[in-house]
Every structure is written in C-alpha cells, then in structure tokens.
Amino acid sequence: MTTRFFGAPVKRNEDRKLLTGQALFIDDVELPDMLHAAFLRSQVAHARIRSIDVSRALKRSGVVAVYTAGDLGAYWQPGPLLVPPPPIPGIVFNQRTQVPLAKDKVRHVGEPLAVVVAESRYIAEDALDDIEVDLEILSAVVDIEAGLGAAASHVHDDLGSNISAHVHQTKGDYHSAAAKADLILKRRFRYEHGISSPVETRGVVAHWDNRAGQMTIWDTTQAPVFVRNGLAAMLGLGERQVRVIAPFVGGGFGPKIMMFYPEEVMLPWISMRINRPVKWIEDRLEHFFATTHERGQIHDAEIAVASDGRILGIKDVFLHDGGAYDPYGLTVPINSQCTLLGPYVVPAYDSTFTAVFTNLPIVTPYRGAGRQHGVFVMERLLDLAAHELKIDPAEIRRRNLIPADAFPYRNEIIYQDFQPLEYDSGNYEPVLDKALEIIGYADFMAREQPELRAQGRHVGIGIACYVEGTGIGPYEGAKVQVQANGKVSVATGIGTQGQGHFTVFAQIAADQLGVDVTDVDIVTGDTDQFYWGAGTFASRGAVVAGNAVNEASRVVRRKALKLASDAFECSEDDLVIEGGKVSIVGIPEKFVRLGELAQRANPMRGAVKPGTEPGLESTQYFGPPSGATANGVHAMIVELDPQTFDLKILRYVVVHDCGTVINPMILAGQIHGGVAQGIGNAFYEKLSFDDQGQLLNASLADYLLPTALEVPRMELAHTMTPSPLNPMGIKGAGEAGAIPVGPLFAQAIEDALQLKEKNVELLEIPLSPSRLFELSRKATNV
C-alpha cells in the first residue's frame, strides 16, 4: 500500500467551512417555534433551601414555564457515576453525584435552583429576577485541609465527613529504600489547575418530535454516544429514539465531557413536556461556575536519593479538591498519582491521596487531567535533589531515565484505565539530548547566562521531562463506505473540537482506498450516523478511532479489489487501487471507478451471495489492551524584571515522542495549543475564591487567558518510537504540550532570579508577578 498522505502535513478539510462562517456551532441551531431557557443559579456556596417562589416569574409576559426540583417528580435523580473507582485494594470511594436542580441544599455557587423557559433568552433572564429564593446560609468548605477538620461543615450531610475518596498505592518498599538513602528531601507542594475556558461556552438544544416519537439533542459534548445512552434511559425512551449531535464544538479540553450536566438533563425533559424545541446557551459568567474546573492539590512529598542522584524512592501524601460532587470518579487524582513517576526509574513508591468534597464547582479532567500536579512534584523534587547534591538539573534527570531496553516498563500501580501502569515503548534519552541541544543548554550555562548576568540581566533556564498516558480504551469504531459518486464517507462516534479529525481520518482512509483526502467526508459526533463509541478524551481520538478507520478502510479496500478482480477476471495481485479507480497493473486504461464498484455491490437483480454483504462498506472497531505512553521534554529560557517580576520567554523548545505521526502540521498545532494553556496555568490563570466559596475573578477581564503577547514562538522537534499496541504505532498527543509547563516555570524563574541563594523555593503553581513579589519580600524580611 502506498502512503501518500499518512505522515504528510496535509491541510485541513474542515477549514473552508470554519473560515467562511458556515460551520454549524450549537448556538447556530435555529428551529421554528423554539423556546429559550435560563437557569437561576445559587449565589452562595453552601445553604439549605427554605423555599423558592416562582409565581411572579410565571406572570411575566413571554414566560412559558418555570421549573424547580419539585416539578421533576421521579425524573429528579442524582446523575450517574461516569467513571467508577478503579479496582485498587482498600480503596474508599463515596459516590455523591450532581442533581438536575438543587432540592434541599445548594453545594456550590452556580448550582441551578430553577429554570425559566420563555419566548426569548432576554425574557427568560428578566424572569430570573422575579424568583424569590429563601436560603439558610451555611459555612462553606473551601480549604481542603480545613475541610477534613472536626470543625468543618459537611458538603454532604449524610456522609459524616468531607472525604470523597481515599487511595493508597505502592510499588516496592519505600521504607527500606529510604533507609539506604544518602539524602531525603521533603517539601509541601501546591498545584492548582484552572478552567479550560474554551472560547465557545457550552450549550444544549433539545427537540422532541411527538409525532415521530423522536428526540434530537444538539449538545457541545465530547461524548455524544454516552449522552444518548444515558438520556434515553432517563427519559424512558429507546436508544433508537434519541439522536445526539455534537456539531462543530468550539474547544473542549475535557470539561465538555461530564455526565450529566444539569442542563443536559433538563432541556430534553422540558422539550418533551412543552412539546416545543428549547435552547440553552451558557454565558461566560455561568461558565465560570456551571462548567467543571480542575483546581488544586496539596502534596507532602519526599524523595530518597543516592549521592549520585539516583532515585531510590518517593513518598507522597496528597489532598485533592474534588468540588461539590464526584461524578467523574477518581480520574484526576489517579492520573496525578501515576504520572508523578514520569520517565524515571523509581524503584519504590508509596502514594496516598484523599479526595475532599468542597463547596466549589465540580472537578473533572481538563487537558492534562491531574498529570500536571504529579509532574510538578517529581520535577521539583529532582531540582531540589540536584541542588543539594550539586548535580546539574539536566544531568540528574538523565541519570534516572528509564533505559531504552527496559520497555515495556512496568510501574505496577493501577492507572486510570484500570490496568497496571505499563509504558508500552519509549526511548527517552535522545529526547532529552535533542532538547538540550536545540536550546543550547551547555552554552547557555557556561557562557550566555554569565555574560547576561554580568550585564545585569536576570535570565534563567528550565528543563522538564514528562510522560503522558494516552489512547486508552475501551474502543471506538468507524464505518467506511464508498458512495456511488466515488466519494468515501467515514463515520465515527467520537466528537470533534478542533483536533483535525476531518483531515487525519481522511488521510488514513485515502491511503487505503486510493482517493484524494478531499474526497473523504468525515462525520463525527452524530449518533444516528454512528451508533457506538466512547468519546474524545484522554488523547485517544487519533489512536483509537484512527485505528478503527484504518481497519474499516482495509476491509473496504479488499472488497473493492475482490469486485474488480471478478469483473476483470484477474488476480487481485494484478490490480492497483489509486486515483479513485481500480486498474490492472501496467494497463492503466483498463480500470473501473470506485463509485461504479459501489453500485455493482448493490445490484438491482441477482442475489447477494451467502456470507457477503451488499455495498462497498465496512464497520470495524478497535480497542487497545491498554494506553500508549508518549513522552517529551520541554526547555525554556526566561528573563525577569527583578522589580516588577514581569516575565518574558526568550526561548521555548519542545521535543516530543508520540510514536508514528499521522499529520505533523496538526500535531504541531496540538503542542502549540497545549503549551499556551500550560503557560496560562503556570503564570496567568488563577481561580481566586474567598473563604465563602465566591469566585472573585469570574470574568475574562480578571481571569487572564494568555494572548498572542504572552505565548512565545515555540521550537518543536520530534523523535518517533512507535507504539506496539496498535497497528499504526501511534500514541496520543492532545495533552502533552500542557503537562510540564508548571515545573519549567518554577525552575527557570528560580534560576533567573537566583532565588535559591535567597532561600526562596518555588513550590507552587500558578505563579504570577504579584506572587513572586510576595515570596521574595518574605525572604528579604527573614
């Protein structure tokens, strides 16, 4: 098979629609007779609901209905558990999932209390002001340490504590490893991740067609098939009666998969009840409370090392802020626990975490999904050890990298996909070498930095390594079909939020079927087009759905060759499939077009032979046994203003290995975007809550997303170690850019400002100019 497109920087099929304003996003769905919903949300974090009076709202002209929890009857149910707890011995998990509308208590600011349905969104929002809510305000659980104290109020009264989960995992024996150590360092680390804040907020449009008995839901979800299955069950409908369409979605990054958001539960129910279509679009203020966050952990971690810098063991005890409910199970803290181990040989590991309920919005994965937190702890521990042992920070990393001949490498503890953590393949040292070479590490240390320092400039360098578990199961599928017009249609169940699926899947199919990439139409995220699947998360779309597209395309290719060999009465080996036709090798004028073969495969007369199917199509599934592990190294040179602590990134280098690459242009875009979000997380974005759980910076004017002035030009390079876990050898890349940026900032800023010499250690993320000012002033005052 020729691979003309696989691996090439093919330009995107989806661009034209997006560039000309013709792509359908959720708020572009307009239906006749459509109503609009607005949600009344709690303005306090923790309160008992005494009463809600909607009578005045109902009298407002243009209001069609107002609902509170009491109106829902048996439909009012806590949501499902999206990801059950992994099979870890001794695990404690207290399931408390979110509800469609708050009934007895509100547990975070923004939790919905009532929904108004009106002829326009303007009227619906007017009517929110007409609703009288009487609340008995309770003290809020905001700080996770205080939340475990005896004096804390309880987010869930029946639980008797605020413990959402408790997990202990070990590898080897940390106690005896520590006994042999030359040095043990212990620190407290705080890492907060923020909000994904896609430029498009969430939205739902539900349309119940009573005559057809059919529910159609447009939803900005990353997992349309799960949403269909869940809502069908809740609404008492068959799955065939519910169609969920995830149209073009304006960025996801994790929080657009959550089962279920209250609005996803309410809108279809409202549409059935009123028998009219209804739309809800989240506004930006709502997004800060109503869409999930990732937020923080506090780690008390220690590293035991030998005098040559070799890691003997790590012990970590951490607290995880889970928010008011835990529908996503333990994915985020398990990722932190597992990813901490990174690309290093860690013979002994003892890790315990407690997930804590707080009166803050729900925590679910956001790009990186807890991996950042673990990587920060490990990378900072190595920096501290390097400093104490007077080993170069790059060198201490090199000495601990897993050697190339040690793969598959077993880390033993249970990962988020419920399998024992095992790295499928990798070759780590060349990645580090390449990063050091590109950024000119040795020259910077030996010459450039001393020279610039002599000129009074404050420049520093950072280097951070990480792994990314990607491409987990269970499975995805694809239906590949040659149409009578010769175009190839590919349908898959995952949703798309900008990852280039319309192009990379087309590249895979085009190579197998000998057509142009532009002759392949991709459908994603429409449950009527493809029935089965899981969704777009955990950097798995290209790996899992991509391999399914490849398998299905291969079967269609075989069918086409078989049909042509029958027609030409020749061996399949004598046929070539390219340019949209099958021809006889060496006789290009002897050909049949694919579209014609598709028509012949669906004849008007004659019989379809037993064991064969009509049509030139195939549906195939792919499920990897476990996730594929990608890895990378980021390196950065920064300059700081020692007065204002303003920061400028002078160089930013990413060297990355995600196995075989389908489209390097799209891969680079994924890395760029991930790094930009990592930079926001490291230095600009901080969710500032007061002690009553009020978010003090809930606007894009106050919560600072990086702009084109903060994100530098990035220099990218790749190595390629194919994954043995799938036929194409690919690993995911969606989250890699975002993962190691926090420790990189801490390390480079410490170096630039020579903070070690001032006894200042940067053990927290996010940092900011004002935080650096506080930390260095504290140090000066000592």
Partner: protein, 162 residues
Amino acid sequence: MEPDRHDIQVSVNGTSYRRSVESRMLLSDFLRHDLLLAGTHVGCEHGVCGACTILLDGVAVRSCLMLAVQANGQDLATVEGLAAPSGELHPVQQAMHDHHGLQCGYCTPGILMTMTAFLKENPQPSEEEVREALSGNLCRCTGYQNIVDAMMAAADMMRAQP
C-alpha cells in the same frame, strides 16, 4: 412593561436589511439570530475575547458591546462577506488555511475581521505588531504562533495584489 422597539436599517456585506428591534438587543444577537448571519461568534459578551468582532464602516468593533439600534444606517462587514462571490478565499482566510491558523475555528471569524482591518491600516507589519494587533482576540487552541505566521503571509499576499 412593553418592549421599546425601533425600526432600523443596516447594510451587511452590501445587502440592506430593515428590521424592528428592541432597544436592548445586542448587535451580535441581531446579526446572528435576526439576520441569521451566524458566522459572527459570541465568546464572552463582555468585550474581552474578540470572537464577535465585525467591521463597522471599516473599523473593527465588538458586536457584543453594541446595541443593534446603534448600528442604524451603518455599513457592516462580517465573516460571511470576506470570500469573493466566486468562492475564492480572502488572503487572510487563505493564509489561515495554509498555516494551520485555526483548530476549533470558533474564534476565527473575529480574528479574520480584526486582522483584515489591521492589515489595511498597516500593510507591512512586523511580527511584534501582528502580535499586538492580535492580542485583543483570545484563541484557546492554537497558541497563536500559526495565526501570527498566517497574518505575516497574508500581508505579503495582499501587498502583491494589484
């Protein structure tokens, strides 16, 4: 209280529209939901993200910070009018495609409109000037690098055009 309505006339991409609108209706909502020109996107409704940027008499403005009635009698341009009637993309669109300057594409219409106005004003910008001009538009997918490259290339293309 009865809504306070006004008759307005606007020209969008050369087509004239007459409508009766509530005084409080945002220009962004008017374009998207009354005129069904949904290519203009709404990201924040408080003037920070720039997704809703359109041209008002050739000047880039945020349509979420204007009321429809304020556009009465004005000439507007939106993303739907950028490509030629033949379908040929405008240089800023073509360059975004060539340089992979968009991923989810939601912020893209605002960026195209902002940069069309900017490149008219400054046909030969430096990278720093492009970044400055772009800094009022948030993109959460691309890290901006490819957008910057696209705009430098678009500037070249536009200068080369007669």
